[in-house]
């Protein structure tokens, strides 16, 4: 498959171009799709596909070894997400990738047996592989953008693994993990924005020279990154999801979460504080080392390193304390992870605090990451193996497993010795290195608190032994309860193989600690800006000396005393008060504050605005109603006024008609009179013609009469003429006919208006 593809090596001096990093991410992704499709058909085929995929992934990662020895291997998938995904694998990344893919392979192999009787297996395996891809992506990423992409994917994908059982506890744990993860992711994103916004690059390499001259506040950015990665790393006080989520997941998933995924948080802090915020290595001449040292004294990453040391110390101590107080096996293991992350954080802190001198802290932290991954994954798989039969893991219930599963008990003891730091087992060297580191830091700074921190370190190591003794005693010793006695404790071969492999690795590292130190840890440190002295010192270190062994003997003695004392006072049965938990003290109130104040207040505010609108609408409607009333009354007034006007007009019309009639009548009378007079005249003329003189006289008389008649006529016509004159004199004053028409029109319009108003009134 893709492994067969010969890595395309760019012959240029340092940077090597190789598709392998992309392949290491792509193979599990493709495998997850394949597993989904095969899962529809057959469980066996799917399991085979899953295991083969993890094996291929492991191979792809291991093939990078010769490349990263020469220099960082890079591969860019340009244009994806517009920004481009950039892989850059140096030796440090390679160590993480190899660790992840190896343990993933082992856990997956175990999971094929573990999950055989569970629901929704296909979903589990699909997400298991997808999570592997994102996890590898985080450590192989070459810039913070790609890292963030894979980091977010990991948060979302691993959620499905955590809530696999879908019990109430699981859902709650998953929700806490998811929300904290998303919130942490956003802090990370904010840090990335600030960094990119001010220096314009996100590449993972020493960038402090750029940061120093920019306007960036390094403390704010480092704080954001610390929170973002700290959530994943289970750093106190951001750890609350971890003891909830790790125990509820199916054991193989718990193993991966606890052993590997929390390391991505540590990896991120390493990269940011230990690399990005450090100045470019300039091949310092050791002659003026003191001058350089003085110049570096004030580096922000060093101050942050000091803070990280203390966060680490607190985390390791409180984690161990909580583990002492728990009784569920997986919960003890989860708190143990918190505690062990404290060791790792402390190492990172020392490495950052001592700047170029911090190789010891670096080596301790990285070595402990490797060791912790092996024994913690082993532990979870061991208790998972027991869980396969008992379905119960509380050490007060499940007991005496030594008789039932002696093989598991032996491997458990090996792991126990490993995590306890017994010489000959793997934890010894990393704890010794870490111890050297904290002593170095204390001596370097001559600070009293750090000497005190060293004491806490020792006490915590003793506590670690105590809670594992408790776990071992609870789980493996004692009498087997009846309900578990009758069951069959036979497992398929992968279970034995995987557990055996873990035991073997823990022993091998423990017996030959310098092999891995020189093979992996020191080459990884060369990618960082540690000075040659410190590295050479590391190279020469021999942990098999009286002083270091003496240290562990002190721890053992302390542990014995502590255990006996605690057992005597029945401390293990104590339950810590609920109100003391950081969840109760801080997170719940914070969430409640957010939900109740912010959201409820916003909702109230929103509905207030809505109501304001409705209210103003109502007001407007009220105003409209008033206007309507006013309008109606005006209308009424008009109507009444119109009626009056109409009456007046009608009356005037009648009057006019009467006058007209009177005029017409008097006119016709006059005309008739005139006619008559004419007839009379012509008769008189005739008579005049007939008669002579008499006629003349008569004519005079007639003329007189005529005059008289004339004046009579005139007298009769006078009043009507005067009226006519009056009417004719100012016709525009009151044209009766026009007035009539106007009134009609007004009435019509008023009626229309009324109609509209009534219509709308009804609409309302």
């Amino acid at each position: 498959m893709m492994i067969a593809a010969v890595p395309e090596v760019n012959a240029t001096a340092e940077i090597i171009t190789s598709i392998l990093p992309a392949a290491a991410v792509a193979i599990p992704l493709a495998g997850s799709v394949a597993a989904f499709l095969l899962g529809l058909r057959s469980d066996r085929l799917r399991n085979a596909c899953v295991v083969v995929t993890t094996l291929l992934t492991l191979a792809a990662v291991l093939f990078m070894y010769p490349l990263v020895l020469r220099g960082p291997a890079t591969w860019e998938i340009a244009g994806v997400l517009q920004f481009g995904i950039f892989f850059r694998v140096d030796f440090f990344s390679f160590v993480f990738a190899a660790l992840i893919s190896l343990i993933w392979f082992l856990a997956t192999l175990h999971a094929t047996a573990y999950m055989a009787h569970e629901d929704a297996q296909t979903r589990f395996f699909v997400f298991l592989l997808a999570t592997l891809a994102s996890c590898l992506g985080v450590v192989l990423a070459g810039d913070l953008f790609s890292l963030f992409l894979f980091f977010e994917l990991m948060t979302l994908l691993s959620y499905v693994l955590v809530i696999h059982d879908e019990t109430k506890d699981a859902m709650h744990a998953g929700a806490v993990m998811l929300y904290l993860g998303v919130a942490g992711g956003l802090c990370l994103l904010m840090g990335i924005f600030l960094l990119y916004g001010s220096i314009g690059t996100l590449e993972i390499k020493p960038l402090y020279d750029l940061i120093a001259v920019s306007s960036l506040n390094p403390y704010v950015v480092m704080l954001l990154f610390m929170v973002g990665f700290g959530v994943k790393a289970g750093m106190i006080p951001l750890h609350i999801w971890l003891p909830k989520a790790h125990p509820v997941a199916p054991s193989p998933a718990s193993a991966l979460l606890s052993a590997l995924m929390i390391n991505t948080g540590a990896y991120g802090i390493f990269r940011v504080v230990g690399m990005i915020f450090t100045p470019q290595a300039t091949g310092v001449d050791h002659g003026d080392a003191s001058a350089v040292h003085a110049a570096l004294e004030m580096l922000p990453s060093m101050q942050v390193g000091y803070v990280i040391i203390w966060i680490g110390i607190i985390t390791m101590f409180l984690g161990a304390l909580m583990a002492l107080l728990s009784t569920a096996a997986k919960k003890i293991l989860a708190y143990s992870s918190v505690s062990q992350m404290g060791y790792i954080l402390m190492g990172i802190g020392v490495a950052a605090y001592l700047g170029t001198e911090g190789a010891m802290g670096f080596a301790g932290a990285l070595y402990h990451i490797i060791n912790h991954a092996f024994f913690k994954a082993g532990f979870f798989l061991m208790v998972g193996t027991i869980n396969m039969v008992t379905h119960e893991l509380d050490i007060t219930v499940v007991r005496g497993m030594l008789q039932k599963v002696p093989f598991v008990a032996i491997v458990f003891l090996i792991g126990f010795a490993g995590i306890g730091g017994i010489p000959g087992f793997n934890g010894y060297i990393s704890k010794t290195l870490l111890h050297h580191a904290i002593v170095e830091a204390a001596e370097h700074s001559h600070s009293m608190p750090l000497f005190f921190a060293e004491k806490i370190f020792t006490v915590t190591s003793a506590m670690t032994l105590c809670y594992f003794t408790k776990l071992f005693r609870g789980l493996f010793l004692g009498k087997v309860p009846d309900r578990f006695a009758a069951k069959s404790y036979r497992y398929p071969w992968p279970v034995y193989a995987v557990l055996g492999a873990f035991g073997a690795v823990i022993l091998a590292i423990g017996l030959f600690p310098h092999f891995l130190l020189k093979l992996a840890v020191i080459p990884a440190a060369r990618g960082f800006a540690y000075n040659h002295h410190a590295l050479e010192h590391l190279q020469e270190i021999n942990v098999w000396n009286r002083h270091d062994v003496q240290g562990i003997l002190v721890v053992l003695a302390l542990a014995a005393v502590l255990y006996l004392a605690l057992d005597r006072f029945n401390f293990f049965a104590e339950k810590p008060p609920r109100w003391l938990s950081v969840e109760y003290l801080f997170y719940l109130p914070a969430v409640r504050f957010l939900l109740q104040t912010v959201c409820t207040a916003s909702a109230r505010f929103d509905s207030f605005i809505n109501n304001t609108y409705l209210q103003s609408c109502r007001l407007a409607r009220g105003a409209c109603r008033l206007v309507t009333l006013f309008d109606a009354s005006v209308n009424e007034a008009y109507k009444r006024g119109g009626g009056a006007v109409r009456t007046v007009a009608e009356r005037t019309g009648q009057f006019d008609g009467a006058l007209n009639q009177a005029y017409e009548r008097s006119g016709s009378l006059a005309r008739r009179l005139a006619d008559r007079t004419e007839q009379l005249d012509s008769a008189l003329n005739g008579a005049y013609e007939k008669s002579g003189a008499a006629a003349k006289e008569l004519v005079h008389k007639t003329a007189d009469l005529d005059e008289a008649l004339d004046s009579a006529y005139e007298q009769a016509g006078e009043p009507s003429r005067r009226l006519r004159d009056r009417l004719r004199g100012h016709p525009s004053d009151w044209n009766i006919k026009n007035l009539n028409f106007d009134a009609l029109l007004v009435a019509l319009m008023l009626g229309l208006l009324l109609f509209i108003i009534i219509y709308y009134a009804r609409l309302q």
Partner: protein, 494 residues
């Protein structure tokens, strides 16, 4: 004037309008033909818009003055890269939603009213984007707003009628304010054309009044605080495909108008110097936080989506106050990605409602087992909404935030991230409960798959796929268009 392409904008706008009447006539005889014609109308619109691509990508601006009403006042069309991007988006989403409607509306009454109105609204919507001056824009703006009322009240329930009434009132207020702004612009600038230089160059009280009038007019449509009140009522009551269009596309007309106002009427430089962007920015920030926070308290699925739209529109409004290229790129791209995401969400919600009849989020527990594909699409869009890479919502957030940082406004980024967190808080529980929650009526054995019919599933799946592909693909059409648009607008819009 003599090229065919010059008349293409008219065709693009007129074609759906004509089709509206054709559909009105045809549906008397055949329902099937009506459906076919509706899809065809949307498809032809999409293709016609897409046909402009070679010209627009070549940096051309297509202008056409149809006829003139008064000197300097005419009905005209103008297609630049911004118009083109949005018209393409609108017609694309419209096409998918129309296809989706075929199945969804089969179970509804009043389809003879729904389809013509749907197509007429498309005409109005595209008309807004292709308008060459504010007067034409106003006409189409009113056309779209008024016609879409019918979509809002489609269910004719009391609730719908009330929401529709509110929508209508707000629309009228917005329309009047917009008209007021246009009148002032005409008075001050002597023209309302998008073609000329900046219309108002000097800050003056009257100009501020115009700016506020535009804010009210377009902000009302965009769901800007405090004019958003109609949105959470109107969007949920409409039939789901209409909700998808209202939330996915029609809200963007408000954002589009404001972009035009910022870059064509006043100019970014003047707005920044006069400090008027602060007003818009403050409103946008309140819109973002309010919308996101209130969404968290909503029990009804579609109502939660509607409030989420308010919050997301706040991103877009905030983005245009940061007047630089990066932020504008994020701004325009967010118009795209929000359209894809929100239509996916509403269409998926519609499918859920159709299949299960459940509207309350609490009741959705375990639905994912029943309708895995629909809910997968829903989840993809919701996660994109939170801005999780590699989905498209992340890209817009990324560009917006970097733009805000370039402009020296890191607290904008904080607002965006807080909103993302809130988005997570209200979307993740839905995703969790649909896939991993137990259904109320727990059956024995694996849940029966009862998936939405393919005609609904395909549009939902396509839209969800765009959310994914236009996030991760190097070959990203919306992103390229946004980039060109941002450059174009910063250059001055010519």
């Amino acid at each position: 004037m003599d090229r065919v392409t010059d008349f293409l904008p008219v065709w693009i706008v007129a074609f759906p309008l004509v089709m509206t009447f054709v559909i009105l006539a045809v549906q008397q005889y055949s329902e099937k033909l009506r459906n076919v014609l509706s899809v065809a109308a949307a498809a032809v619109s999409f293709l016609s818009v897409a046909a402009l691509y070679p010209f627009i990508a070549g940096g051309e601006i297509i202008q056409l003055q149809l006829f003139s009403l008064l000197p300097n006042l005419s009905v005209s069309f103008r297609v630049d890269i911004l118009s083109f991007s949005l018209a393409l988006l609108a017609s694309f989403v419209w096409l998918l939603v129309t296809v989706y409607s075929l199945e969804y509306m089969r179970h509804e009454h009043g389809c003879n009213r729904y389809y013509p109105v749907l197509i007429a609204t498309l005409a109005g919507c595209i008309g807004i984007f292709l308008a060459g001056d504010f007067f034409t824009l106003f006409i189409f703006f009113e056309l779209m707003s008024l016609i879409s009322y019918v979509l809002v009240v489609h269910e004719e329930t009391m609730e719908a009628l009330r929401a529709g009434y509110k929508y209508l009132i707000m629309t009228i207020i917005g329309g009047l304010a917009l008209f007021f702004g246009i009148v002032i612009t005409f008075e001050l600038g002597g023209s309302v054309s998008l073609n000329g230089p900046l219309l108002i160059r000097e800050p003056s009280p009257l100009a501020l009044l115009a700016f506020i009038a535009y804010l009210i007019g377009f902000g009302m449509k965009a769901g800007m605080f405090p004019l958003h009140v109609w949105l959470p009522d109107a969007h949920p009551v409409a039939p789901s495909p209409a909700s998808a269009l209202l939330s996915g596309v029609m809200l963007k007309t408000g954002a589009y108008g404001l972009l035009r106002v910022v870059f064509h009427v006043f100019g970014g430089k003047m707005l920044l110097e006069a400090g008027w962007t602060t007003l818009l920015a403050a409103l946008a920030i309140i819109t973002i936080l309010l919308g996101s926070a209130v969404a968290l308290t909503q029990e009804d699925l579609k109502r939660r989506l509607a409030y989420s739209s308010i919050g997301q529109m706040g991103y877009i409004l905030l983005g245009m106050t940061v007047i630089n290229e990066k932020a504008l790129l994020g701004d325009v791209f967010h118009i795209f990605s929000h359209a894809f995401m929100k239509s996916t969400l509403f269409l998926a919600a519609g499918a859920i409602i159709l299949k299960t009849g459940k509207r309350k989020i609490k009741a959705l527990s375990g639905v994912g087992r029943q309708m895995p594909f629909t809910l997968f699409a829903f989840s993809l869009a919701a996660i994109s909404m939170m801005g999780i890479p590699p989905l498209s919502g992340f890209l817009s957030k990324w560009a917006l935030s970097l733009g805000a940082l370039d402009a020296g406004k890191p607290y904008y980024v904080v607002v965006l991230l807080i909103s993302s967190l809130l988005n997570g808080l209200y979307y993740l529980p839905i995703i969790i409960s649909v896939f991993f929650g137990r259904a109320e009526e727990e059956g024995h054995g694996p849940a029966r798959i009862n998936e939405a019919p393919p005609k609904m599933l395909v549009p939902v799946a396509l839209l969800a796929l765009t959310t994914f592909l236009f996030g991760i693909l190097p070959w990203n059409v919306p992103f390229d268009l946004s980039q060109m648009t941002a450059k174009f607008l910063i250059r001055g819009g010519f």
